[in-house]
């Protein structure tokens, strides 16, 4: 507990009141009891990205905290010793070393053992495959990976073409980076076109693999309505070519029958990390002019990357729906750009994924089960800073951009997205811990932690979209991706700068109208 601490924001400066800072096992809490209304600011230790000591000012010893959810807290502490103690404590608390130190293992809400277990069973991927009609004549759920022998970053159950026998699967796994063979992501029942995903082939300059070629053939033939299939490499051509020198690379159209190969050119995790860094610098500018802001936004490249991801998702959706062709997508390892693009395309094609349940299924399938390295990308533990990258953040933003263009098409609202994003970094729930299913089993996540999804569903009244027109109102979404269609997401990147947001929120007004309506309806039915 530290007294005499000021919390500055971009508007107040010297006039900030004195408050008290508390450090608990899980949170930093700042209490300002000076005004009539007691104001508390809570920061989860896991959310803290960096803590810096700034140069001494007349007001005291400043401490600047940057959070992974873009909250920036600028404290000024009266005494140097206090400041230093808070600084060193926060450094330690915000960078756990062992997984067991993560909040999820100590988080203990009042819940029965059964309910906790039921919570984990809420989302069942098999049910989604059934919804797609699988298993069917062409596709089956195989347990060939049940002991992670084929690929240790894939889940134990994967969907492959029925025609791809075990030998083909094993052979292909030896020809794909990290054994990440082509598997089904989404089947468009209406025309049998499929979206599949994998990692880059270990082709180098000239290597071939019969089984991998057979695997692609099986995928193509699982869609008899189309003479060809697309193979999409989401990397820029130059990067993919450079990979060839390392014995990896991309598919040669000459070696694979009836494929059309295409580069889509989304930049890599390092470029994205730097882009976000620049964007946040723009967001933190004290009193920028319009020019400063727009130039800064342009220089960060952030919206350019968002557009690139969106364009890729749109390409996939169009190929499946309009051209009726199956698409196989990969990047390098098939767990970053591939995840973004496949989940986005599914969302564009299928209204189910725009419901609460559907969106949870989408994240569990394309991100969690398929091995997006949440732990590394979100820096849950002290690790390699070069592995950190806002890949999931970009996906969430693409969903938000779609919500701006299609305000009636989603069952949930912006807050739902922000809550999910917060919890990807909070480590309060076990869903996003580790890097793949096998690791989660090893850490005993399903026995020792809670699932995020029941927690969010309980709050669905505040997280719903009052303008949602229902499941059947829109089938596929065809967003405009001209540059002017993309807006700056103030609610995410300047979320905690209350002054910048509309003072009256249409969303809140409508939600309160709807909850009033529900109360009246309840009263009316009671009276009956």
């Amino acid at each position: 507990q530290v007294e005499n601490v000021k919390l500055l924001d971009r508007y107040t400066n010297r006039k900030a009141a004195n408050g008290t800072l508390y450090l608990t096992a899980t949170h930093l809490i700042y209490v300002d009891a000076s005004a009539e209304v007691r104001k508390e600011t809570w920061i989860l230790h896991h959310h803290i990205a960096t803590v810096e000591k700034l140069p001494l000012t007349t007001a005291g010893y400043p401490l600047l905290i940057h959070c992974k959810n873009f909250h920036v807290a600028h404290f000024v502490i009266g005494q140097e010793r206090d400041c230093h103690e808070v600084y060193t404590s926060l450094l330690k608390l915000s960078q756990p070393v062992k997984p067991e130190e993560l909040y999820a293992f100590s988080y203990n809400p009042k819940m029965s053992k059964e309910n906790r277990e039921i919570g984990w069973k809420l989302i069942d991927l098999k049910v989604d495959y059934q919804r797609m009609g699988i298993p069917n004549d062409y596709w089956e759920i195989t347990d060939v990976n049940k002991d992670y022998e084929v690929c240790n970053t894939y889940p134990p159950e994967i969907v492959v073409p029925r025609a791809a026998h075990k030998a083909v699967v094993i052979g292909s796994s030896r020809f794909r980076s990290r054994g990440r063979i082509p598997v089904l992501s989404y089947l468009y029942k209406e025309n049998n076109a499929a979206i599949c995903r994998c990692s880059q082939p270990l082709s180098g300059f000239s290597a071939r693999c019969l089984e991998d070629e057979q695997m692609l053939q099986a995928i193509r033939e699982a869609n008899p309505g189309s003479p060809f299939m697309y193979v999409v490499d989401t990397r820029p051509k130059l990067n993919a070519m450079a990979n060839r020198a390392a014995g990896k690379g991309y598919e040669n159209e000459d070696n694979y029958d009836n494929i059309r190969f295409k580069f889509i050119g989304i930049e890599n995790i390092h470029v994205m990390r730097n882009s976000l860094q620049k964007l946040l610098e723009v967001c933190e500018m004290k009193s920028p002019s319009m020019s400063d802001f727009l130039t800064g936004l342009e220089n960060s490249g952030w919206l350019r990357h968002i557009k690139a991801v969106m364009d890729a998702g749109v390409f996939l959706a169009k190929a499946v729906k309009d051209e009726k062709a199956s698409v196989l997508v990969h990047c390098s390892d098939g767990w970053d750009r591939t995840a973004q693009v496949c989940s986005l395309a599914s969302l564009l094609l299928d209204p189910f994924y725009r419901t609460f349940k559907g969106f949870m299924v989408l994240i569990e399938k394309e991100w969690i089960a398929m091995g997006h390295k949440f732990s590394h990308r979100c820096s849950h533990l002290d690790g390699d800073p070069k592995e950190v990258s806002p890949v999931f953040t970009q996906f969430v933003e693409c969903v938000w951009q779609l919500m701006q263009q299609f305000p009636c098409a989603f069952e949930f609202n912006e807050r739902f997205l922000l809550e999910i994003h917060d919890h990807v970094y909070s480590c309060q729930f076990g869903n996003f811990l580790g890097t793949c299913h096998k690791e989660r089993e090893d850490l005993k996540i399903f026995e020792k932690t809670h699932s995020l999804w029941p927690f969010l569903l309980q709050k669905r009244q505040e997280l719903r979209n009052p303008l949602y027109r229902g499941y059947t109102a829109y089938k596929e979404l065809q967003p405009n991706t001209l540059p002017f269609s993309f807006q700056f997401w103030c609610g995410m990147y300047n979320r905690f700068d209350k002054g910048m947001h509309p003072k009256q929120r249409v969303l809140d007004h409508l939600l309160s109208c709807m909850s009033q309506k529900m109360k009246l309806e309840d009263n009316a039915s009671e009276l009956e």
């Binding site: 727009l294 130039t295 490249g301 299609f406 249409v506």
Partner: protein, 249 residues
Amino acid sequence: LQESLIKLVEACNDQSHNMDRWLSKLEASNWLTHIKEILTAACLAAQCIDREGASVLVHGTEGTDSTLQVTSLAQIILDPRCRTIRGFESLVVREWLQAGHPFQQRCAQSAYSNSKQKWEAPVFLLFLDCVWQILRQFPCSFEFNEQFLIMLFEHAYASQFGTFLGNNENERSKLKLLQKTMSLWSWVNRSEELSKFQNPLFEANSLVIWPSVAPQSLQLWEGVFLRWNRPSKFLDEAHEEMISIIKYN
């Protein structure tokens, strides 16, 4: 200012899928910079009155352009009556028509025209854009909606009504507009027309409303500048949903 509008329109019509070029052109047009500057000046004038109780004299060069933007916006900030439909109409009549904003000159050609005449400038459009920015930030504080503002923009440039003809009251009386033309307000204020322009979220209040002029808070007015570049179907459906939720209540 005309230059600014021309550049903005050109940027909006650029079909190349190049994000950097879009942002660069948007910035170079300076349109949003003008918005920010005028809103900042209006807030300053309003602050003098509200916080210090001091009177404010505003002037520019001729007192017919930015002066009117600042005085009318300051009133919108301070006075809830200006945010009602009748109040806003009176504001336009008082602060723009009677004050002598030279509509005939400023709105002489199409807003998208490429040839430039030196007395032409989208001053009134900039004012309406500023009102829209405030409306967006305080969606429950205005009796009228975005369509109302767009309608005024259209009629300032080309109209079957005589309201915006001429450059000042002197010219209007010489042109015998009262006898020879119909007033826009008489049409707008008929209940079947008015219903299109009403804001379902409006809740009368007596607040002074201070808009944020941070760049993040100001947006491109898509309803005007991207009106023909993208379908409004999904946004219209959202508007219908909103109306039905509120009506049901």
